[in-house]
């Protein structure tokens, strides 16, 4: 039967011992995606991720809009990290249009994207907590996230969908007394985040459920092309902010976090450590930022690029985020491709779940720092 079907429409094989289980797409433990899991008793034999339930055709839509009107919809795949998903697109458009960004705008962008990284990571951590049945860890990050949402609201006017990054800088300048409010919130958050260790990261139940679970070796992390926290939890020190600094990251003082274990525990710890570095970056950027000056270069209406192809990348909350833009002398880009961390880390999921117990599936799945909507674009 399956031989007559075109590729892409093959039927699944069944076996009397193996049971096929659909996790999702409505299951709270999968997000908007389906995991087709084959189990033998309690052990996972194979896992076939089936994303695409929230595919919006962002790349197709980008071909119909000009470089500026693309901004609000391109951030939609991951609204909690909207500054970081727009960042590579904006850098690429600046390359195509040959725009030089004012110094102050570069710092403001870095601050906005680090605040956004914390917003995203706290949301992710909250869901990781509830996945593992730890409802305190759902409440705490959800509450603390408001600190950064408030700051971003002051900066951009919107709580989540900021559309703040624009080619040539940022949409508007910081409000008066932003620096004081920001430092106060960050100081409070740094004290607060240390308490996460007491309730979550040093919790023996969490450690028992995640340590030595879903171990990804260094070699495999490289071979599978994983990125972000997944890669750094497996002992590869690769952070785009250090390896290919964009805007002013090379002048800021911060470290990258690397762990060697490669298990779900290490993967869940890296984003938490990253948030501490984000606080350092924000504080450093606020002190080094020019106190006045323009934050945006005015563009001509409907700007056109030449015939070129650019690929820019940044470090988002979920790893490297690349944007490939092809311009063919039109106000609209000819092709925009977003290479997102979630999509790249998905390849590790079937690999890690093989031989794992079904009960460990949520802890492995969410430790990949996967955001279904972003992977689908």
């Amino acid at each position: 039967m399956s031989a007559q079907l075109p590729p892409g429409l093959q039927l699944e094989k069944t076996d009397e011992r193996i049971m096929t289980l659909n996790v999702g797409p409505q299951h709270p433990g999968s997000g908007h995606m389906r995991l087709i899991v084959q189990i033998d008793g309690d052990y996972i034999v194979a896992c076939d991720p089936d994303p695409g339930y929230v595919h919006r055709g962002e790349e197709k839509m980008a071909e119909y809009r000009n470089y500026i009107t693309n901004i609000p919809h391109l951030e939609r795949p991951v609204i909690h990290d909207s500054c970081n998903i727009l960042y590579p697109y904006v850098l690429g458009v600046e390359d195509i249009l040959g725009i030089e960004v004012p110094e102050r705008a570069k710092y403001v962008r870095v601050i906005a994207s680090e605040l956004n990284r914390c917003v995203y990571t706290l949301y992710w951590l909250a869901i990781y907590g509830i996945f593992l049945g730890h409802s305190t860890m759902f409440m705490w990050p959800t509450g603390d996230r408001e600190l950064f949402i408030d700051l971003l609201e002051k900066m951009t006017g919107a709580r989540v969908t900021h559309a703040y990054m624009v080619p040539g800088g940022v949409r508007n300048d910081l409000p008066a007394n932003f620096e004081d409010v920001c430092l106060r919130q960050v100081d409070y958050f740094e004290k607060r985040i240390a308490e996460y260790a007491d309730v979550f990261y040093d919790n023996p139940i969490l450690i028992a459920r995640t340590e030595n679970t879903g171990v990804l070796s260094r070699t495999d992390a490289i071979r599978l092309g994983t990125t972000g926290s997944v890669l750094r939890a497996s002992g590869v020190d690769y952070d785009i902010r250090k390896r290919e600094p964009y805007d002013v990251y090379d002048s800021l003082d911060f470290e990258t976090n690397v762990l060697r274990a490669g298990d779900a525990y290490a993967r869940s710890k890296i984003p938490w450590l990253d948030m501490m570095e984000s606080c350092r970056i924000i504080r450093d950027a606020l002190s080094k930022m020019p106190k006045s000056g323009s934050v945006r270069v005015k563009l001509k209406p409907n700007p056109k690029g030449g015939e070129e192809s650019v690929y820019r990348r940044v470090e988002s909350g979920r790893g490297a985020l690349g944007c490939h833009i092809i311009s063919r002398k039109k106000p609209e880009p000819y092709r925009v491709k977003l290479s997102v961390g979630s999509f790249r880390n998905l390849i590790a999921l079937p690999y890690l779940l093989k031989g794992e117990r079904l009960g460990n599936m949520p802890s492995v799945y969410w430790s990949l720092n996967y955001w279904p909507v972003e992977a689908d674009r």
Partner: protein, 170 residues
Amino acid sequence: MEHSQPPADSIETPGHAALMVKRFPDGAILSEDTARPQVLVPKERILEAAAYARELGYDHAESVTGVDYPDQNEIEVVYHLGSYTDESLNGTVMALATRAPREEAPKPGHDSTRLPSLRGTFYSVEFHEREIFEMLGVYFEGHPDNRRLLLPEDWADLPPLRKDFAIKGR
């Protein structure tokens, strides 16, 4: 300043784009930028070119883009290759491109729009190639899993990222 000495750049080893084209003379350099070399090789040589890129130190594919060029009757697939292991390739991403023939009435999987899969050389392209198969109809020969990924299983229209697939109302 006097220019009796050659500038430092010219003494350095040739860029990766130049090395690629030296090895594969039927290829073309699209950009010689050291951070973003871009090369186009014919599809018959793409497997050898990928193996050579591995020798140069690239160990994973970051992104794979499929681009439809109806005016040239071709579909381009661009592999963006990066390296986690080679420190000297820190900020370098090589774009290795190849082109497949394009058909007016595509029958994905059953027409001439085919390319060899790079999954054997760069395992990380697995899902990216599946995405290009459904979005542009490029069948990757040697890929063990040429199935739909994001689109519904019963999608019967044109592959949506082809230029002749128009969004309604636009």
